[in-house]
């Protein structure tokens, strides 16, 4: 741990709220461009040596997750329902720690396709939704996707997928070694005439930029990587930002408000330190990268007499258009051992159903991957169908775990104004701030497409020769780690929160870049795009600052 330490009286050039996938990139880009940057992170800072292989603690005790006892959330399906306090897994699930959710992510790093940015033009209006084109296109973002692959560190095989969008460079590292789940997914999919290919993963398949190669321990999803092989910003962007001597990462700093002055400019942020003592940090500009749920909540909590509906909210879009992506699983058991608990979660994926197809009769697109996903406890809890969930048949299924795999189906979520993050009118968190309230109901097309894609997963497993195949029950979305769309980008200040350079339409020195910026949901793996946006935003914001345009 190194870097600058600012004094309480300092006015920094930028305060960045959040140190995750986007915040880490912003910190590095702005500090390398010569600016003083203070990053406020609500959670603690861990090092590689702190991480453990303890499934109970990480998955069922929320070791790296946001804590519902101190940071409660409420959830309802529609505005007509009374939101209930969320128990168990958070409805907006993230990792409050330095590195953010890039610390515990699975590391699937798919680029969006060209169509993702202009589907509204290609397909037309979808009634009842806010389906829209992005204000940028794929070609605009391509150099930054390449930057993510090389500077964050992504393993993959360029050109392997016939559906891949154009790219300017191959991946810097070869794909990770294929697992049995990948071989079987590939076998079944090829038999059906599909085009499975090596999964791009933000995990080092070889030593990379001072980090170790993956040791294939299997503890990726939901865990921190003690090998530093997973390309978390904790291990790349954060230390590189600190190495400039112009960036301080301040953990255990929980931001409660962004303040503005009479001129309508941001002056800095108020935050609580680890002892719950409140401070004010002055800044020339503020960047919010607190994730698609907390960024919206913070803007709404910052309402004042000049901005009574919350900051940057003249459009009324702050918190709206929340998109989770759909996620369904297919389970399969084979004759021989796969041992899926070893190595990274995913080694082969299928993008044949990525594009919308009007012949299906409903909107949607997605991708399939082969994996075991969670480790033994989660598999034992979630995989068995109800009739085999206890007793001798359950035990037989437990003994079949080495022969089991999952196909995960990741799909689109349409943007709806009614799906939103706002402030619970009654419940407060441990600091006395309004709790996050989430209102969410899948669009009917999202449910239909998710079911369609799950059925394709069944066909692939059957074609691969599985002895048993069954679908996990698929219900409506009630939460997840993909928190997208709540401060969407757009050229029109009436329908979007930030412009195409991530500057808020309403406040010239307030910028937002994280999952909230996404206009559409992509196909279920958003982090790659969030980081590409952050590299692009960082470059533009630094340019504005250098030219005196902030």
């Amino acid at each position: 741990m190194s870097g600058r330490v600012f004094k309480p009286t300092d006015t920094v050039d930028f305060v960045v709220v959040g140190s995750g996938a986007a915040g880490g990139v912003m910190a590095r880009e702005l500090s390398q461009a010569g600016f003083d940057v203070l990053v406020l992170e609500q959670g603690p800072r861990y090092t590689a040596a702190d991480f453990r292989h303890d499934e109970l603690d990480y998955w069922f005790n929320g070791h790296l997750s946001n804590k519902l006892d101190t940071n409660p959330q409420t959830f309802r399906k529609t505005a007509n329902d009374v939101a209930q306090r969320v128990e168990g897994f958070p409805a907006a699930w993230y990792a409050p720690t330095v590195g953010g959710s890039s610390t515990h992510f699975t590391a699937n790093f798919w680029r969006f396709h060209e169509s993702d940015f202009k589907e509204r033009s290609l397909l037309g209006e979808i009634p009842g939704t806010t389906f829209a084109d992005w204000p940028i296109d794929y070609a605009e973002l391509e150099p930054y996707y390449t930057k993510v692959e090389w500077e964050i560190g992504v393993s993959g095989l360029a050109g392997a997928s016939p559906f891949d969008p154009p790219r300017s460079r191959p991946y810097p590292m070869p794909p990770l070694p294929v697992k049995s789940s990948g071989v079987l997914l590939e076998r079944g999919a090829r038999k059906l005439g599909l085009h499975p290919f090596p999964a791009p993963m933000a995990i080092a398949s070889a030593p990379y930029r001072g980090r170790a190669a993956c040791a294939h321990c299997g503890f990726c999803m939901g865990f921190g990587c003690e090998m530093q092989a997973k390309s978390s910003t904790l291990y790349n962007m954060i230390p590189e930002a600190e190495a400039t001597g112009r960036c301080e990462i301040r953990p255990l700093s929980y931001v409660s408000r962004v303040e503005t002055n009479a001129a309508g400019r941001a002056t800095g942020v108020a935050y609580f330190d680890k002892d719950r003592k409140e401070h004010f940090q002055k800044a020339r500009a503020v960047v919010l990268s607190a994730n698609g749920a907390e960024t919206a909540r913070l803007l709404l909590m910052s309402a004042n007499s000049k901005f009574p509906d919350g900051l940057a909210n003249s459009s009324g879009m702050v918190g709206r258009n929340l998109m989770y992506n759909t996620y369904n699983e297919v389970h399969a058991v084979y004759e021989r051992a796969l041992n899926e608990y070893k190595s990274v979660q995913v080694t082969r994926i299928v993008h044949d159903f990525y594009e919308h197809d009007p012949k299906r009769g409903f909107y949607g697109g997605g991708g399939l991957d082969g994996r075991i996903g969670p480790l033994p406890i989660a598999w034992a809890l979630l995989a068995p169908p109800p009739e085999r969930s206890w007793g001798a048949e359950f035990k037989a299924l437990l003994e079949a775990m080495p022969r089991a795999m999952i196909v995960a189906a990741h799909g689109t979520s349409l943007p709806l104004e009614t799906n939103r993050v706002d402030l619970d009118p009654a419940l407060k968190d441990a600091w006395g701030l309004p709790a996050m309230r989430i209102t969410y109901k899948d669009h009917p097309d999202d449910v239909k497409f998710a079911g369609f894609l799950q059925d394709r997963g069944v066909e692939i497993m059957e074609a691969a020769g599985a002895q048993q195949v069954w679908k996990a029950p698929s219900g409506e979305s009630t939460g997840g780690p993909h928190l997208l769309g709540t401060c969407r980008m757009g050229n029109d200040p009436k329908t979007s929160v930030v412009d195409n350079h991530h500057r808020t339409h309403d406040i010239p020195n307030l910028f937002i870049c994280d999952g909230s910026s996404l206009v559409t949901s992509g196909r279920g793996q958003p982090t790659m795009t969030i980081q590409a946006l952050a590299f692009r935003a960082g470059e533009h914001i630094a340019g504005f600052a250098k030219r005196g345009e902030i």
């Binding site: 499934e55 005790n61 095989l157 697992k179 070889a206 040791a215 206890w390 437990l398 775990m401």
Partner: protein, 206 residues
């Protein structure tokens, strides 16, 4: 069963072939410490399974009997042999202490209902195993049964230091081997993989 507790040797063996020795020599001390730290927590079975610290003996008998119906004993160890009851006992005095009283209330509710259904029987654990199965079948949709299933799975498969998974018997049951480092091939289907065959019209670049 792979040997455990020798992660340093496993690490060297598994990474030596793919990582340059100069790099390894430069990086080794810190990485080895991190890797062993993460792994060490998994390897140690430090639980004391000689006494109960939260449950009464009668409560422990019923918890053990329910768990043994969820994952029965037989040719391979079940919940009983892996010490699930000690897990349930110890987490409610430890990591989930705040939920202990609620658990006891629900357990007492279960015991009360069982006594009503089976007058003259001392407690659930005293029922014949077929009767135990039938009674649990009757209430398998109840929240308490769901909670017991959750606790049984965690007791079977969480780290032995939480009280269950005695001697890693739960991990043995599901074929999970607690080694920190693996190398390809991982299973029977990837060992003969011929390599990725590109599709016609594509140009693979590396």
């Amino acid at each position: 069963m792979e040997p455990s507790g020798n992660s340093r040797r496993d690490f060297l063996r598994a990474t030596g072939g793919t990582i340059g020795m100069a790099w390894l020599a430069a990086q080794w001390p810190g990485l080895a410490a991190a890797a062993e730290h993460a792994h060490g927590a998994m390897s140690a079975d430090t639980a004391d399974r000689t006494k109960f610290v939260f449950l009464s003996a009668a409560q422990a008998r019923d918890v053990d009997a329910i768990a043994a119906q969820i994952v029965p004993s037989g040719a391979t160890p079940g919940a009983r042999e892996t010490g699930v009851v000690y897990f349930v006992d110890q987490v409610h005095a430890g990591v989930w202490k705040s939920q202990g009283e609620g658990f006891l209330e629900r357990l007492k509710g279960f015991q009360g209902s069982c006594a009503k259904h089976h007058p003259g029987t001392g407690q659930f654990a005293d029922l014949a195993t077929g009767e135990q199965f039938a009674y649990l079948k009757h209430m398998e949709r109840s929240p308490f049964f769901g909670e017991m299933r959750f606790l049984t799975v965690l007791g079977l498969l969480a780290l032995p230091s939480y009280g269950g998974n005695a001697g890693k018997a739960g991990w043995n049951l599901v074929g999970f081997v607690d080694r920190h480092v693996w190398e390809s091939p991982y299973g029977d289907y990837d060992k003969d993989y011929p390599g990725f065959a590109p599709y016609p019209g594509t140009k693979v670049r590396s």
